[in-house]
Amino acid sequence: MSKLLKLAEKMIEYGVKKGATQMQASINEGTEFNVEIRNQNIEKLTEAGSIGASFKIIVDQKVATASSSDLKEDTLKSLIDNAITRAKLTSADEFSALPDKEDVDFDISKLKLYDENINKMTPEKKIAYAKKIEEIGKSDSRINLSAGAFFGTGNGSYNLANSNGFSGSYKNTIFSTGVFLQSGSGDNLFEDGWYEYGRNLSTLPSEEVLAKKAIERTTLLMGAKKIDTQVVPVIFDPQMTGSLLGFLSSCVNGSSIYMKRSFLVDKLNTKIASDIVNIYDDGLLPGAPGTRPFDGEGVPSRKTSVIENGELKSYLLGTYSGRKLKMKSTGNSSGSTNFYMANGTSTPEDIIKSVKNGLYLVKTMGQGTDPTTGALSKGAFGLWIENGKLTYPVAEITISGQLGEMLAGIEMVGNDLTHNRSTCGPTIKVAEMTISGK
């Protein structure tokens, strides 16, 4: 057992002795390295280690939490004493309880969360990668400057125990890199870029592939026009589908449901999307960015069908929201894991071809989402589609729609899903949305 897991268990023993009915302790440790390159020089280099402990204490169904980056045992004990005192001042809540013990019955190493390359990859190699993507990025004649490239790595150890007998730990790694560029001239400038991240070094693309993607995105909108206000079909590129799913995940989150802050309240087992829509939350996908063996309460991860053939099958629940809704935790007390739309049968090319007059959406700006009503309204950038072909870029417009109507209006689902983000999906076509422009 790791030293930190032992410390967590020791703190639980202390808390229970001092009067906690139930207690959970987690202690996480990590190191980070990050280098930022601009104009081929190192602009910023950060290297550090950090540690943090957090506790949840329940005294007779009354809850208090605490956390600290100061791990001196005296500090932790004082925090626990305080938390027990504080818990007594809150209200008893019959739904407050730690999860019943549920074992992690799979081999954590199969999840591919930890890559030994973290210790083998030297700072020089990371610097060289970042320099290379910037060099390629700047080599395109349409690019007028680099806002910087970076390469980062992280190494974390997670340890969680509770008074119901759960005790688990795992390690993970992260590799991330990207470059940000600017194109255009005068007051008509465009900035964008691209980044990738993954648990394993091998998931990062080559320098050429990453830099080309950054160039493509940065130059895509050059010479963009504003268009007239109209209602048209909108194609979401995979990244935009991911962003839309991020909004959906906040609407299927258990706390949004019991607080009635979601348009999907009482919609379980009803049809909310078109037949070709299948959405999952899968915490067990080997090597994927959102994968974890268990959530922040020690509930083992699983694959949850959220939408199956258009029907809402499950919310994403933690122990508390599950008990509130008379359901079981889905292992999502810390939010979604790998939340994705499954591939459909269309190629992205076929989807574009199917549109006579519409928007191919590549970028949005702004918050503009309201889970309570499902309303979405964002600044939008993309390419205009005419007669099945991508034509000129459009900018400074907005798109708006209601998420339920959008899900029901998904007419085509692409076959180009990649798990390069924890929330992701393939190219999709939404039948109609309002575009605001001139």
Partner: protein, 508 residues
């Protein structure tokens, strides 16, 4: 990992509702009354470090030839208490302790940090940061000279960090009931009080040694209204670097709750906003978010020397309508974005940005000021010891004008009146959006029906010229600003104003 191109302003910060948490200055009041005026004993008690040790560490940080080194010690305690569904659901207390070591050489920054404040661990972080340089060591630095901040912009009387949880619970209940009891249609309410006390000590190789104690509090209410199957949610909050008196004299907890409830009720009746270009009137209370995005971020000096901001070559040019004067003033008493000294130890002041339409200044940190050969103006901020400082806003304000707000509304034949926001976002190239929660339609100079779900989009160089009427009133808005993965508390202020044309994204 941060998307470097992204700058956001969020009305509701993730850490706000429930993430963090709650008790008095803890450990038997060990830090009670701990003040920067105490001189050496402040950091000796808090961080168990002496002036001599800091001097040694600053020199270690320069052992590879860096030009400037700095230590940033931080101890902060965050408390929160949350009420939902008629009960106090939980309280929380969070301690953050650490030190960051920064070394600058030319335009390069090396950074290391640690939670362990033993001399050896800090020395390790100092050596890590030192490695940004690779020439000969500096052998001597200026002697550290303890200074105390001259300003006191925080209200330290009746500080929340001295208050017992019971007292905070009473306030949260008042705010909660304010919303819940306002109307039977209010179905769900959540209310939370989050308070923080942050102790910092900054020492650098120029001989500066200064400390500050910063309070921060925020009382937040979200109300969800329900009527005939329609749901709506609205949010209200208030706070700042203030004590409990603020909620007695300036804004009562109950009134914060009522505001959230009222907006949720109006939203029940609201229709979708129209789509297309039209005149836009911005209500005084929250529209400062536009100044924050459209003006503030593009005038942060790191974008100037990196060449990423659209405003980089426009100093001393007319960039806005001559009616427009904008400044960032971190010294306003008690405001959420106020600071006595910035996170590099520089005394804050009122920094003019745009005077009668002319661009007159940028917000800088030490590094930007050095590279651009500008005077330092105290806008280097960081989220915590784990982050190097970067140029940031504090309280960004568009100065009040002379027009009666009613006259501004009367001048619009058909347009959009933006009242409350979820937040905003801007790119370095000046394109910005703000997301409107509640607005109204203006028809024939009169406010008619409520509207919801709109995004306003524009480019800052255009919008600044399109501001053509400015009210003689003033409102302030609290938020949390995100840049390069770092969040800091800010305020922004505006009077009522009119933008002659802007794209409103609603439903066609």
């Amino acid at each position: 990992m941060s998307d470097k191109t992204r700058r956001t302003f969020l009305k509701q910060c993730g850490a706000g509702m429930g993430a963090v948490m709650a008790s008095g200055l803890w450990m038997n009041g060990m830090f009670m009354g701990c003040s920067p005026q105490d001189g050496d004993s402040f950091f000796e008690n808090l961080f168990q470090i002496s002036k001599e040790e800091m001097q040694k560490l600053l020199l270690v940080a320069l052992s590879k030839g860096g030009e400037f080194s700095e230590l940033y010690f931080e101890y902060s305690i965050n408390n929160s208490v949350r009420m939902e569904e008629d009960i106090i659901k939980s309280s929380s207390e969070s301690i953050s302790l650490g030190v960051g070591v920064r070394v600058i050489k030319g335009e390069q920054t090396g950074y290391g940090y640690t939670n362990d404040l033993s001399f050896e661990k800090i020395k390790h972080a100092a050596l890590t940061a030192a490695a940004i340089a690779n020439t000969d060591a500096k052998l001597k630095i200026a002697d550290l000279n303890v200074l105390t901040p001259k300003l006191q912009t925080y209200d330290m009387k009746n500080s929340f960090s001295d208050k017992h949880l019971e007292e905070k619970i009473t306030m949260v209940k008042e705010a909660y009931q304010g919303a819940k009891d306002h109307d039977p249609k209010i179905a769900k309410v959540s209310a939370a009080l989050a308070d923080e006390i942050q102790y910092i000590t900054i020492a650098n190789s120029d001989g500066l040694l200064i400390s500050d104690v910063r309070p921060q509090v925020r009382l937040m209410v979200s109300a969800t209204a329900s009527d005939k199957g329609t749901l709506s949610t609205a949010f209200a909050n208030n706070g700042g670097r203030v004590g409990t008196d603020f909620y007695k004299n300036n804004d009562h907890p109950k009134d914060i709750g009522i505001r959230a409830a009222k907006e949720a009720l109006i939203l029940l009746e609201a229709e979708d906003a129209p789509a297309g270009e039209m005149p836009v009137v911005l209500h005084k209370d929250q529209s400062g978010v536009m100044i924050h995005e459209a003006v503030g971020h593009p005038l942060e000096a790191d974008g100037v020397w990196k060449g990423t901001t659209i405003m980089k070559d426009k100093l001393n040019e007319m960039v806005a309508n001559p009616l427009v004067t904008i400044y960032d003033d971190a010294t306003i008493a008690g405001y959420r974005g106020s600071l006595n000294i910035d996170d590099e130890g520089i005394e804050t002041k009122n920094v003019p940005l745009i005077e009668k339409g002319k661009l007159v200044g940028f917000l800088n940190d030490k590094l930007s000021a050095k590279i651009l050969k500008h005077k330092e103006n105290g806008h280097g901020r960081r989220q915590s010891y784990a982050h190097p400082p970067i140029p940031r806003m504090n309280n960004t304000v568009l100065a009040g004008g002379e027009t009666d707000p009613q006259e501004i509304i009367s001048s619009v034949e058909k347009g959009f009146y933006a009242v409350s926001y979820q937040g905003g976002q801007v790119s370095g190239t000046g394109k910005f959006t703000f997301s409107v929660n509640l607005g109204y339609l203006i028809e024939n100079g009169k406010i008619t029906k409520p509207l919801k779900n709109a995004t306003l989009i524009g480019t800052n160089v255009q919008i600044l010229k399109e501001i053509n009427m400015i009210g003689n009133d003033m409102g302030y808005f609290l938020g949390t600003c995100g840049k390069e993965g770092q969040s800091v508390p800010v305020t922004c202020g505006t009077p009522t104003m009119k933008i002659s044309r802007m794209t409103v994204g609603g439903k066609a």
